[in-house]
Amino acid sequence: MSVLQRVVKPTTHKGKKVLLKKEPQIIEGTKRAIFFKGRKTSEKVRNLLKDLYLIKKPDAQMLNKKNDITIFENPQPVEAFCKKHDSAMFLMGSHSKKRPDNLVVGRTFNYSILDMIELYVENYDGLQEFANDKITVGTKPCLIFNGTLWEQSDELKQLKSIFIDFFHREEVEAVRLQGLEHSISFNATPDGKICLRSYKVLLKKSGVRTPRVELEEIGPRIDFTLRRTKLPSPDLMKDACKKPKELKVGKKKNISTDALGTTHGRIHIGKQEINKIQTRKLKGLKKTMQEKKAAKRKALVESNDGVEKRQRAD
């Protein structure tokens, strides 16, 4: 698509392809997420990371080593991880005396931290603690946000955006109706808790076309509380949310829809030259030889006149 702009040229075709893939694209796929651990992690957080990894799976990467990272003091190693794995989201689990059962969720833009939110995992029940059937991997879930608080503070607004980004999977044009089998609800309660619940959707008969929905909890069941946050500056967020010109839908001219939903179009036609319209050919309308000759002579005289005039003008 584009010419490689690197000082050192890739030597192999495969290398070139890899680099091209890493370049900014007009249409980006699902954001990949990396999961890693801090200096120390509690069992709870470890399991949580594992479960979230399972939910996110085809677009996720679990890093197994411990990392000596204090992300709010120095985010550089995390940015390096994201660059290495070409992923835009990260989840870091850690556990310390000061901040027990800690989970940091964040996003990067252009390989630098866009926003991150630190959460305290208060209660946690994993996927395995629910004995129900699980859903198939990779289904697009229904996301449900409950509570008035989501729109009231900047932190929660950002967290909502992060949650949508994390769980919504790829953008699709169409979904299979029977394939809607996962529903995740996020509840921001007035006591400052954020409760994540995940359900399997059962579509039952209802007597009408639309089915009756029944839910069955499949886990994980997590209660978060907010800790530290790093919100993006409005400029950066605006920059990150920019849409490529190619994807913007331009306004179509001369098309309008009236109240009844009928589409009206306005067509512009060129000037009608009635004299030149080819009508039905009839023998009687045909020019005779004399008429043709006269027309020819007339044209000749006119052109000569023109030449003379031009000469005079010169």
Binding site: Q5, P24, F109, I144, T148, V175, L177, S185, N187, R197
Partner: protein, 345 residues
């Protein structure tokens, strides 16, 4: 007939009663983003259900209701059948999510591409194979077989007429080729620098054999300015021109004068700017100098006094022994005959 209809209606009604309803009542309508399968419920929680023992059921019911509402919306969208499955077409997503990488910028053209575009030069396709008369076979445009063919063809090289007969023509050819490669690489880097808006240091004249006249002119101008007197005493050839764009590395060279401003108001503005720059200037105070001056003046005063005293006493030899050079008064009035009275001019 009527009986049948009513029967059917009754039947369907009773059937509908058998199932639970799909209707959900809400205070505030939910906000939907069907493109991302998202529903936002802005209703308040009922606080009595938020107690730990009732909480889970409440959340489950809430989620059920909202999912039901979302699915009701989804089922109303136009559907189509694709291989036994009913697909529903989703509208484009409304939620703005940040991108992972910035929007790709259009790649800037290289210097050649720009030139070709301006001139309307189109790329000609070359055949991959061409017939070689000398070798009587098809040889490719590039690749190892091409190199082999070249080798085969050029087993002997003609020595040009006025060339040194001892010069190795083969070695010359090799160096010319490597130089060409280097030039191409340089141009590639220059194009990259141009597209990224990076300033690269000028490299000067790399090879005097194939330098352009412009490059040579630049080299001459720079060389001329590189004397101790910044080229002030360098002679000029009759029709010599100075290279342009080298003002930053030839400090003594004459620069193009700016034309005076065209419009009156611009001139006024410029003059006002100059005036401002002068009026806003604080007097520069060199503290060290000022202190030295102060010390000097006090010393002078002291020495003056001493002088008077000593002159009264008679001997003035000791003054010179202080080690300080006399500074010719430095504007101090010597206590001469005009020390008192009106200043005359």
């Amino acid at each position: 007939m009527d009986v049948v209809v009513s029967e059917i209606l009754q039947k369907s009604e009773s059937e509908a009663l058998k199932y639970k309803s799909i209707e959900v009542k809400k205070h505030l309508e939910l906000e939907y983003d069907l493109g991302t399968l998202l529903a936002v419920d802005n209703n308040d929680f009922e606080s009595k259900f938020l107690r730990p023992d009732k909480r889970e059921d409440y959340f489950l019911n809430l989620a059920r209701d909202n999912t039901q509402l979302l699915i009701n919306q989804l089922w109303e969208l136009p559907t189509e059948r694709v291989e036994e499955a009913v697909m529903v077409k989703l509208p484009p997503a409304k939620t703005l999510l940040p991108r992972m990488k910035p929007v790709p910028k259009p790649k800037s053209l290289t210097k050649w591409q720009q030139f070709a575009k301006d001139k309307g030069i189109q790329k000609k396709k070359k055949a991959k194979l061409s017939w070689d008369q000398q070798l009587q076979k098809w040889i490719p445009l590039y690749g190892f077989k091409r190199a082999q063919a070249e080798k085969e063809k050029n087993w002997v090289l003609e020595v040009p007429q006025n060339a040194d007969p001892n010069e190795d023509q083969f070695a010359k050819k090799v160096t010319a080729r490597s130089e060409n490669v280097a030039k191409n690489e340089l141009q590639r880097l220059r194009n990259i620098a141009k597209s990224k808006n990076v300033k690269v240091p000028r490299v000067g004249v790399t090879n005097p054999d194939n330098a352009s006249s412009k490059e040579l002119q630049t080299a001459v101008t720079v060389a001329k300015a590189s004397t101790a007197s910044l080229g002030k005493f360098q002679d000029k050839l009759p029709k010599e021109k100075e290279a342009r764009g080298v003002a930053d590395i030839t400090p003594g060279a004459s620069r193009k004068r700016k034309l005076p401003p065209v419009a009156g108001h611009i001139e006024k503005k410029e003059n006002l700017e100059i005036l401002d720059s002068i009026l806003n200037k604080r007097p520069k105070m060199n503290i060290e100098q000022a202190v030295a001056k102060q010390i000097q003046s006090t010393k002078m005063d002291l020495s003056d006094n001493n002088h008077h005293e000593r002159s009264k006493g008679g001997g003035s030899k000791s003054k010179n022994k202080m080690g300080k050079k006399p500074k010719g008064g430095k504007g101090q009035r010597s206590g001469g005959k005009n020390s008192a009275g009106r200043k005359r001019r």
